[in-house]
Structure formats: structure tokens, C-alpha cells
Amino acid sequence: MSEVKILVKRFDPDSKRVYTSEYKVLAEDDTMVLDALIHIKNEIDRTLTFRYSCRMGICGSCGMVINGKPLLACQTRIKELKEPIVVEPLYNFNIIKDLVVDFDIFIDYLKEMKPYIIRQEELKEIIIKPEELEVIANPSACINCMLCFAACPVFGYDQTFKGPATLALLYRYLMDPIDQAEEERLKIANDKDAVWKCSFWGECSNACPKGVDPAFSIQRLKLMLAIKSLR
């Protein structure tokens, strides 16, 4: 067990003040950044504000920037970080308070993607071979943690861009073996603020804690649109 220094970049919404708090916590080999923040909240500073819940990297609540990288705090070991550890709210979003950001913009864009199966006729029995599911396995693993939005340079300067996770989910439904809305979905992809705004930095795929590859999904959508336009 050893003492580590954690600097948290904070925002006080009442005074609109941006400031940094410094905390010292004891860390063991298996202490995560989230464990340290919970400890600070409970024992040192009740005003420190952040979101978290599952502690196991699946609910997507505790995304934040740690030592310059967007990460899930519950999966980031203190011992693997350089000191001092600097924790910031996710980039590219408006900050509500401390480490809590407003990502309603994602929910609005997600709704535009029509993230549900669309079919004309009702299905009787569904037969899908395991290999047919492979194409959607990757994009469907998105936990909506917003790390890719924080990492995306395009979204950083242009918030009208629909964003990586969103477009990966669009691709996921487009490729679903039982979905029948290809035309409609390609139209959504072809929107001026959708796939064509992506300039393929690939930062989204690097940032994803679940191995989702939005960059790939987006390039596939571009390719499909290109092929369609040649037909």
C-alpha cells in the first residue's frame, strides 16, 4: 500500500469557477481510480461529484479523462498510472459539475439513428446462423460510455457531427440479419452531419473500452454509400 496524489479538475456550477482539488489516497495493487474517488467522496470531500454504478465496466457511467486519456475509472488501476494522477471530466461535452458532463446530445442523436429493428412483415420463426451474427457482434457491444465522443477530434470542433458510438449503432441495425430498413438507414448515414464528417482519425476505436470499432463501422457505411451511388 502506498500513498498517491490525485488532482481532480473541477467545475463549480454555482460560481462558474474552474479549479483543481488535490487529494492523497492510499492505493493497493488492485485499487482502481473509481475506488479512490469513492474513498475521497466518503472520507475526505463530500462535495466531489462524479457518476458511477456497476464497478465492473458495463454500465458506462464512470467515463472520465485520466492522465489525458478517456477511460472508465472502474477499470483503471492506480498502480499503472504515472503520478500525479490527473482526473478531468470527459472532453467535448458541457460540464454540469466536477466530473459530470451533459451527454443528452448523444441521446438525441441516438434517437435519430432509429436504433430498433424495422420490418414490413412480421416474422414467424427466426433462423440466424452464428456466423451471421458476427457482423453485428462488434458494434452491438457499445455501452454508451461516451469515451469515443471525448476522444473524437471531429466532434471536438463540430458538435453537429453525429458521433462515433451513434454511427456504430446505426451500422449495427443496418447489418442486422432481420432488419429491412437498409434504404432508410443509408439515408441517415448519408446526412451531411453523419459519416462524411468523419475524417478517420480512428481515435474512437482506440478509446473504446469494449473493443468496439466505430471507425470501421463508419468507413463501411461510407463504402456502402459509395457503391450505392455508382449503381
Binding site: D30, E43, R46, G57, S61, I96, P130, I143
Partner: protein, 566 residues
């Protein structure tokens, strides 16, 4: 203060809440559905469910078998009419999700693949890797975006229900983002707020599982049912409590003690590692107590061995097990045992409902883990809870929608709301120089873990009850350090603690009054099941003093209680 009107108000947006919302929304597009959750829907704890969802879909299976397994698993405390309804509606719910795009694992013929699970006599647990809850939650959430008549209130915290003469009429809620209190008028409401894991020190549950909905109902006179039945999952990571899914054993994993023996053969000679969860958890408890555990930094544990399953099974079917073992325990599951120990996992008890999801308060419904129908009785079988959320979420959604179509609004009078505003802001937020909520939460967790855990006795339960009463007194001195109205999690935690204390009271008092051992409720002073006196549900009512217990007979249709053996 703003008033919001909605025909059906749903509290909680996990699997049960979302399923209820979709059902109510599609019954009549003119119905306005308000979906309130203290977190964004995709953060709900359904997301952490791993193993799968049970239903009779395979040709080799039958409804009676699923019903009997569930009833036996419940140690005969489940209501058999409710269980029969549950198993009958279950298949359609899973097939609905299939049509809604849920990527269920498939077999080589392209059909939904099933895996073995504890207490289930055939393979009937359907899954999507070991992230079934994640896929269910996201499929439902994304599907819910289809309906324009579902209005979401994300990150709103419900502080009280408003009931008049036995009929629901509204509630109050804080918009966490700006700290303002609003009130809702509703024709019907459904409580879908999930479990209570945060009452315990070691739990698989997320930080949000604080039993809010149970306390909300309890406070307005709705009884809670079977609150003494708290499930400890056999395989949690020591210290952290994180869940290693039962699917690890369903796929063939072993439990080993420090002599590398599969000790379950002593406790459940036939089903071994796949006995009911209460049986396996107690077995681990005894192995450790008798010195046959491995020693670790978080105390003794037993080993979960999945090495022999091979790389492909682990990668394809148990990726989360691998991830948790590697990231959180620092263990390589291909070559090492995963350290496990029981962890508080699930609440069998909850808001008392009948099989239509109705509570005794007209217009008030409950579904999912927050409710107690009861299909789970004294012990829930793994993979029945996701299905329960779907079946009874849909049912409650449908019935609440019908109720709303047949009834009018009752006006909420301003007085009631102003009192609540005063209680919250004057009584709690503005109080100075008290003790911090976290201090009391630690104390509560210690009491529950040590005295209301896997193995109980009357003396300790009495001590625990007395300590909880003291904590309730002490709660009056709690103050909020953060005085901001905006996104004040210090304040929200105080409100949660207030709820947790009521739920702890109900659990401990119910446990004290059930003088027998059944399912997850094991008392060394009454080590036998006592059908003569306790083949009953316990309803607990809040009173000004000690809670009041009423008995409700268990509904038995076709299966007489017998000794439970695995």
C-alpha cells in the same frame, strides 16, 4: 413548483421499467407515459446481469418442468399460480426480444442456444455471451426510443408517493441536474426500482441499488413481502463482491476447496455445483469456516476452476468472467483458479403484488426485483430474474395502462407537496454540522453483513434490529456538506440512506419473525423448515413504532411441499 401530468408513471428504467413503458405505450398511443429514473436507462443495474434468461422454448422442455424447478428452488414458498403464469408467458417475452434484435447466442441450426443453470433440470437459459442483461437493457432502451408517448425523466429522483384513501394519485421528484422539486399527477404508477445490494458490504449490485421503490411503497402503507429472503450469490470476487456468473458453472466449471476437492459432492451429490444458490453459498460458507478455504488478502475463499473449459468456450461464452478475473482479481482463468466467495446479490422480497402486478393501493403496481409476486419464494433460481422483469414488467405495464384508461386523475393538493419540499430542503439539505451520510452507510453495511447475512440467529437479529433503530435516530443528525442545488450527489445519498434504513428495518424484522430455515433464510436457532407454521408469506407494514407482520398463505396448485434435495 411545476406540475407534470402523465397517465402512467414508471419509476425505474431497467428491464422491468422499460418493458412496462413499451407495453403501456403501445396499448394506446394517446396514453402519456412518464419514465422516471435516477440514472440514464442504460446505466440501470439490469446491465450487470450476465448468465441468461430462462424460458421453455426448446422442444425437449415443458412448462411443468420449469414451474416445478422454480417452485422447488423457492423452497416451496413461491405462489404456484403465479409461477404457472410466469412460465407460460416467459417464452413469448424472449421471442419478442429476438424480434426486437437481441443477439441471442445461436446453435449450429440457427436457433436460440440454451445453457445449463443452477436448479434448472434441463438447458433452458438463453443467453448472449455472458452479457445477457446488457443486451436486454440496451435492446429495450433503444426500442423505447420508438415511442413518442414515452417521456423520459433521466436523472430524476423520486422522493415520495402521494396516496389518498387507498388510491395512488401522484409523486414528488427532484430533477438531479438542477435540484428542483417537481410533482407529478398520475392515474397509475409502477415501481420498477430494482434491488437493495447497497445495504450490504459485499455485493454484486451497483451503487444505485438502494431499495428506493420498496421504501417509497412501505411509507405510504403498501406492505413489503418476504423481505427476509436475501440471496447471496455463491461466486463473487472476494473484497469487491463483483459477480462471476453462474454460467461459469453452467458451462462446466468446478468449485474447489484448498484440498482441490469438488466439495459440492458432499452438499448436493446429484446437482453438485448446479444446486440452488442458497445451497451452494452455504456450502462455501462451511468450507471456509472449517478451514478448507484458500487464504487471500480479503480473507478466505474457494476456487472456481474453468481451466478445463478451454479457450474457445471461455472467449465465446464467458468473456466477462475472463475480463473480471483478469482486470479485478489479477488472475489468468486459463491457468489459475478464480477466487470466489458468496456476495449479496438479489432480493427475493419486495413490494407485495398479486400476479397482475397490483399492490393493495389502487393504481399502484410493482414489477421486477423491487416487487414480490412471488415467483421466487425463499430462493430465486438463476436466470429467472431477467425473465421475471420482462413477464411482469409487461403485465404491470398492460394493467396500469388499462387502469389509466378507465380512471381519471385525482388532484394532488399543494399542501402535500409543500410539506415534502420542506422535509427535503429545510429538514435535510439545509441542516448544518451533522454527521456524514457515508459514516452511517458504513455502519449499516456492517450490521447487515455480520448479523443479517447467510447464517443468522435470533440473538444477532435482535441486536441488528436494535442497531438499525439507533441508526434511524442518528439519521436525524445527518447533514449534507455540499449545499449546491446542482447535481448534488451528497444530498441524493442522504435521501437514499433514508430509504435504506427503512428497507433494513423491514428485512431484519421479517427475518427475526420467521422462526425457521427456508431457502436463503437460514437460522441456526431454527435450522429446519417448518411448514406447519411458516408455509406463509410475511407481509410487513410500517407503523409509527415496531413494524407489523401479517401472514398470507402460499398458493399451492399442484405441487405439495417435499424435502428439497439437490
Amino acid at each position: 413548483m411545476d406540475k407534470i401530468k402523465a397517465d402512467v408513471i414508471i419509476i425505474g428504467a431497467g428491464a422491468a421499467g422499460l418493458r412496462a413503458a413499451i407495453e403501456a405505450a403501445r396499448i394506446d398511443s394517446k396514453l402519456k407515459i412518464a419514465l422516471i429514473s435516477k440514472v440514464y436507462p442504460m446505466r440501470s443495474h439490469t446491465v450487470s446481469a450476465e448468465g441468461g434468461a430462462a424460458a421453455v422454448i426448446k422442444e425437449y422442455d415443458n412448462l411443468d418442468s420449469h414451474a416445478y424447478d422454480t417452485i422447488k428452488g423457492s423452497d416451496f414458498l413461491a405462489d404456484q399460480d403465479a409461477v404457472e403464469l410466469f412460465v407460460r408467458l416467459a417464452p413469448q417475452e424472449l421471442l419478442n426480444l429476438e424480434k426486437w434484435g437481441l443477439p441471442w447466442a445461436r446453435d449450429e441450426n440457427g436457433k436460440m442456444a440454451a445453457r445449463a443453470f443452477g436448479g434448472m433440470s434441463v438447458k433452458r437459459t438463453f443467453f448472449a455471451a455472458d452479457k445477457t442483461g446488457f443486451y436486454i437493457l440496451h435492446t429495450l432502451f433503444q426500442r423505447s426510443l420508438m415511442y413518442d408517448n414515452i417521456e423520459r425523466y433521466d436523472e430524476w429522483f423520486v422522493t415520495s408517493l402521494i396516496v389518498e384513501k387507498g388510491r395512488f394519485k401522484g409523486l414528488t421528484a427532484i430533477d438531479i441536474k438542477n435540484g428542483t422539486l417537481h410533482y407529478f399527477e398520475g392515474k397509475a404508477a409502477i415501481i420498477c426500482t430494482g434491488g437493495i445490494g447497497q445495504l450490504y458490504k459485499t455485493t454484486s449490485n451497483g451503487a444505485i441499488n438502494t431499495g428506493d421503490g420498496m421504501a417509497l411503497a412501505y411509507r405510504v402503507g403498501a406492505p413489503l413481502k418476504d423481505m427476509e429472503f436475501v440471496q447471496f450469490h455463491p461466486t463473487g470476487l472476494p473484497g469487491k463482491g463483483l459477480l462471476i456468473t453462474e454460467a461459469a458453472r453452467g458451462e462446466g466449471g468446478y468449485l474447489l476447496n484448498n484440498r482441490y476437492e469438488r466439495f459440492m459432492k458432499k452438499y448436493a451429490p446429484e446437482k453438485l455445483e448446479l444446486a440452488a444458490r442458497d445451497v451452494v453459498s452455504r456450502a462455501i460458507y462451511y468450507e471456509i469456516k472449517e478451514g478448507r478455504g484458500f487464504e487471500g488478502k480479503y480473507g478466505a475463499y474457494v476456487g472456481l476452476d474453468i481451466r478445463h473449459l478451454g479457450k474457445e468456450v471461455i472467449e465465446k461464452k464467458l468473456p466477462t468472467v475472463k475480463e473480471i478475473a483478469e482486470k479485478y482479481a489479477g488472475v489468468d482463468p486459463y491457468n489459475e483458479l478464480i477466487p470466489v466467495r458468496p456476495t449479496m446479490h438479489y432480493m427475493m422480497g419486495g413490494v407485495h403484488t398479486n400476479k397482475n402486478g397490483e399492490t393493495p393501493i389502487a393504481g399502484l403496481y410493482a414489477a421486477g426485483e423491487a416487487a414480490c409476486v412471488s415467483i421466487n419464494g425463499a430462493n430465486r433460481l438463476g436466470s429467472n430474474s431477467l425473465t421475471e422483469c420482462l413477464v411482469f414488467g409487461a403485465l404491470a405495464g398492460r394493467n396500469a395502462a388499462k387502469f389509466a384508461l378507465e380512471h381519471d386523475y385525482l388532484e394532488v393538493n399543494k399542501e402535500e407537496v409543500l410539506n415534502e419540499e420542506k422535509r427535503i430542503f429545510e429538514g435535510l439539505l439545509k441542516k448544518e454540522n451533522g454527521i456524514s451520510a457515508s459514516e452511517l452507510i458504513y455502519e449499516l453495511k456492517d450490521i447487515m453483513e455480520e448479523k443479517v447475512g447467510i447464517i443468522r440467529n435470533g440473538k444477532e437479529l435482535e441486536e441488528a434490529f436494535a442497531s438499525i433503530m439507533k441508526l434511524k435516530e442518528k439519521f436525524k443528525q445527518v447533514s449534507v456538506v455540499d449545499k449546491s442545488k446542482i447535481y448534488n450527489t451528497d444530498f441524493i445519498q442522504v435521501l437514499e440512506l433514508d430509504f435504506m434504513l427503512d428497507v433494513a428495518e423491514a428485512i431484519t424484522y421479517s427475518a427475526l419473525k420467521r422462526k425457521e430455515s427456508r431457502g436463503a433464510h437460514y437460522r441456526i436457532d431454527y435450522p429446519k423448515r417448518d411448514d406447519e407454521h411458516f408455509l406463509v408469506h410475511q407481509l410487513i407494514y410500517k407503523t409509527e413504532y415496531e413494524p407489523r407482520i401479517e401472514f398470507l398463505p402460499v398458493v399451492i396448485t399442484r405441487w405439495q411441499p417435499t424435502e428439497r434435495k439437490y
